[in-house]
Symmetry: C2
Subunit: 100 residues, 2 copies
């Protein structure tokens, strides 16, 4: 499982990245935070898009994307304050199935 | 090491949480994402503040805070697209010192 978060100033670039993350099966768990399984094929597609977006004129010096692979320990100990995202249980069932 | 991210609509509540996270030694690595070591004492202070903020009138139904403890694996394999935050090296030296 991965967690991918971004700080991207430009709306179009942010939307571009959000779109490819969702296309690759990640779930939007917060406005700028996505979670999901990223297999090698997806990682290749994402890396290509991340490289592409950095070359855009509108990519700002302060823009960042964090890609954090999570260990099972993190998934087991994650805490959520507030209401879980709509597709949280679906996401976890799916991840669980993939892990088994 | 922990990663803590939030989606909080109200400016005052968001600032309140950002402030306590920084007070407890976390680094703001993105606008709504913080990283750092959270020991038991800090965790107690944060939990209290998280409970408090949820009781505020301005806490919206969609507001969330994610608290994710990271395994060494995540720290070792984390990737950053773009420029590392200013205090990234300082943070990592500090974390490294604490871990050793």
């Amino acid at each position: 499982m991965h967690i991918i978060s971004y700080d991207i100033q430009d709306d179009r670039l942010r939307t571009m990245i959000a779109k490819v993350l969702i296309q690759q099966g990640l779930y939007r768990v917060q406005y700028s935070v996505f979670m999901g399984m990223v297999d090698d094929k997806s990682k290749g597609i994402l890396d290509k898009q991340f490289l592409r977006v950095q070359k855009e004129k509108k990519w700002a010096p302060a823009d960042t994307i964090f890609i954090i692979p999570l260990h099972q320990y993190s998934s087991d100990h994650l805490e959520i304050i507030g209401t879980k995202p709509d597709d949280w249980d679906l996401m976890n069932r799916k991840l669980h199935t993939l892990v088994l």
